[in-house]
């Protein structure tokens, strides 16, 4: 089959690789109809995630049709149309039974390694380094889906691929970020980052009743989408004015936003040249693994007693974490890789009911064979790119 393969920093190519086969009794094989490039794929592309190997197939946002099932699969059958959540859950461990699927205790064969890095076993994730299991990803023609009875959601409604594809990751991820921020009509929520997750965080905060949302980014076209499509009330472009904290205070009568969402993660940039350069250099020299500009500003801007909701992906350590502000303000921080499985049904329902059409983020559609072009376009935000969907 054809598959998008990582072959070093800033290099992906579409290659012929062997077709996936059933490895365990609970596996299913999915013939992929649509797959997307995620912002977190760029962390792999840029070489900031350890334990990547040449030849790893990328991609953790995909959907398609079941073409084969292992003998123990009972809830899915050949021909079912499914969306596959990016974390692999066993559905049976204590964390899964609590609904904390992304910290599943059983699906990462390299749990020993993950425990050293993160202090937890961490669920397996498709195409996302060997630290999260070494599972082949879904930017390919076919994918093996382990623990199939506990993962994919069946799509029986007459909906386009692009309306349901993002259930795999960015839509529930943005939703969970909004939920952690405890939205309500009187609150002001600020969202750092207007990429796909930021867009869905804004749209979800609105679905959950928040009426005052501020979007922060440096790309005018993304801020425009946040205001026009996702439902933000204000936009802050930190390329124009680097002092985001001051602007957020200004927009909230000096109080600061009640909740701040970090939808940026480990490769944050900063409007102030010196701060951006400081983190860039430290990260390049491997003196800090994560660039923390967005998280620092989130903590500094949030009102005392407020919530900082961290959904952007981090992998190691940041420098200059403002513990003084964090502690003295009495902030609450909520974090986590999205527990996608618990949002699948309710969020699909919102699509069916017409409350949201997740396809609004799609800016680029291309053949799978053009994946490397897709990565470049997305990485450099060329041609007003927000989301690339690949068609095998």
């Amino acid at each position: 089959m054809r598959a998008t393969v990582w072959s070093g920093r800033n290099t992906v190519q579409v290659e012929n690789v062997p077709d996936p086969k059933i490895l365990s009794r609970g596996d299913a094989i999915v013939k992929i109809t649509s797959t997307a490039i995620c912002g977190s794929d760029l962390h792999l592309y840029n070489g900031y995630v350890p334990t990547m190997q040449r030849g790893d197939i990328l991609g953790h946002e995909f959907m398609g049709e079941i073409v084969e099932t292992g003998p123990d699969v009972s809830r899915l059958s050949v021909g079912d149309r499914v969306v596959v959540p990016f974390p692999i859950a066993c559905g049976r461990c204590e964390q899964c039974s609590r609904g904390l699927f992304s910290v599943c205790e059983n699906t990462n064969p390299n749990a020993g390694m993950a425990e050293k890095f993160f202090g937890l076993a961490a669920a397996g994730i498709y195409g996302y380094s060997h630290l999260t299991g070494g599972y082949a990803g879904g930017q390919a023609e076919y994918a093996r889906v382990p623990f199939a009875d506990h993962n994919p959601i069946k799509i029986e409604q007459d909906l386009e691929d692009e309306q349901v594809l993002f259930l795999a990751d960015v839509y529930p991820t943005g939703y969970m970020a909004a939920e952690m921020a405890e939205p309500s009509p009187e609150k002001v929520i600020a969202v750092f980052g207007a990429g796909p997750v930021g867009q869905f965080a804004i749209a979800s905060a609105r679905l959950l009743g928040c009426e005052n949302i501020i979007s922060i980014d440096k790309e005018p076209y993304r801020l425009r989408m946040a205001v026009e499509k996702a439902g933000a009330n204000h936009a802050i472009n930190f390329a124009e004015n680097a002092d985001v904290v001051e602007q957020l205070k200004e927009l909230t009568g000096g109080r600061g936003p009640d909740s701040v969402i970090d939808a940026v993660g480990m490769e944050a940039t900063h409007g102030h040249f010196a701060i951006a350069a400081y983190d860039r250099i430290k990260q390049a020299a491997r003196m800090e693994s994560d660039r923390g500009a967005a998280l620092r500003d989130a903590i500094l801007a949030c009102r005392p007693g407020g919530i900082v909701s961290v959904i952007g992906a981090y992998g190691g350590f940041i420098d200059k974490f403002p513990t003084g502000a964090f502690m003295n303000k009495g902030l609450t921080m909520r974090t986590g890789q999205c527990h996608v499985h618990r949002y699948l049904k309710p969020l699909l329902e919102r699509v069916v009911n017409g409350e949201i059409d997740p396809s609004f983020i799609v800016t680029h559609r291309m053949e799978l064979d053009r994946a490397s072009e897709g990565y470049e376009t997305f990485k450099h935000k060329q041609d007003e790119c927000v989301k690339v969907v690949l068609k095998p």
Binding site: K21, Q53, T107, G112, G124, G134, A136
Partner: protein, 320 residues
């Protein structure tokens, strides 16, 4: 006097009995009658360990700096002599690897003894060569004769006296995991897992000795296991119906102690890592009915295979 000597004897007996059990030997009549370590026993053990470390040091030097050794023993330093230094260096390292981890490395001591004869012959041949430095060669030959005496002594003493054994440093570790299953069921399943009929265990097969699982049963590795190790296993109810906690301890021989264990760990071959793998694999089997397998790790959790994983793409040939 009597009570003091008696206590010492009992302590030695206990240690002996324990070593015997982990070595799987059938035991022998004299063992139980051992009356404390005689000076001779200690010195043979120390000599054996010393010979092992000597081999390690010499072999490392010969491989890293063959020219230096050439100069020291007085042979002409050229390509041929350096090649011979490397060959002998490898031989020394294998002797070290044979002697250090074993309690009774009889064959390896004899191998060293016969190696000395070969080395003496090599030096004698060099002595006849006029280009080489005669005084240095003479000193080298005298040293080898000295080594031969020590090796021959240790070999014969250890062969003739089954009581003699060197103490290999032992490393201890602990691992625990919580599994969502009742204690009774878990014990039953663990007995099946540790027999390892499917080849699922990384450390196993294991043997469970008598004991009460709530207080801790003793286990040890059986024949065919990757390492010789032993330890305890205790099952406890997790709070409020959250399943069962398994608390395992392990003890294994590691030449060089914790440093040696660290070297094993880098290679993914440390018994404690394998015990941890086993606990994870057992939990997966009990809770999900299968071992989590990926393209990178098609046989599931394995510290040993972790450093050399297959890329995350389907392997070319897979037996489903």
């Amino acid at each position: 006097m009597a009570s003091f000597a008696g206590a010492a004897t009992a302590r030695v007996r206990r240690r002996r009995a324990h070593d015997e059990s982990s070595a799987h030997s059938n035991g022998h009549g004299r063992n139980g009658e051992a009356a404390g370590p005689l000076p001779d026993e200690r010195s043979v053990a120390a000599l054996t360990r010393g010979l092992g470390y000597f081999s390690l040091a010499l072999g490392t030097t010969q491989l890293a700096a063959p020219g230096l050794v050439d100069k020291l023993i007085g042979v002409t330093d050229d390509g041929t002599s350096r090649r011979w230094q490397r060959i002998v260096g490898l031989q020394e390292l294998s002797a070290a690897a044979g002697i250090l981890p074993r309690e009774r490395p009889i064959e390896w001591l004899w191998a060293r003894t016969s190696g000395d004869v070969v080395h003496l012959a090599m030096l004698a041949r060099a002595y006849r060569n006029r280009r080489d430095s005669a005084p240095r060669l003479a000193i080298a030959m005298a040293s080898v004769v000295g080594c031969f005496a020590a090796d021959a002594f240790a070999s014969t003493r250890m062969t003739s006296d089954p009581k003699l054994r060197q103490e290999v440093p032992r490393v201890k570790g602990k691992a625990s995991i919580t599994i969502r299953a009742p204690r009774e069921e878990l014990l039953e399943q663990w007995r099946r897992f540790e027999q390892d009929p499917q080849g699922e265990s990384r450390l196993g097969p294991l043997e469970i000795l008598a004991g009460d699982p709530q207080r801790g049963v003793e286990w040890r590795t059986a024949d065919g296991a990757a390492h010789k190790a032993h330890g305890t296993l205790r099952l406890a109810d997790a709070p409020a119906g959250r399943g069962t906690e398994i608390h395992a301890s392990i003890e294994f021989a590691a030449p060089g102690g914790s440093l040696g264990a660290a070297v094993m760990k880098v290679a993914g071959d440390e018994p404690l890592q394998q015990l941890r793998d086993d606990l994870r694999r057992f939990k997966q089997l009990i809770e999900t009915g299968e071992i989590a397998r990926s393209d990178g790790a098609p046989t599931g959790a394995s510290a040993k295979l972790q450093p050399k994983q297959h890329p995350a793409q389907p392997p070319a040939n897979v037996n489903a």
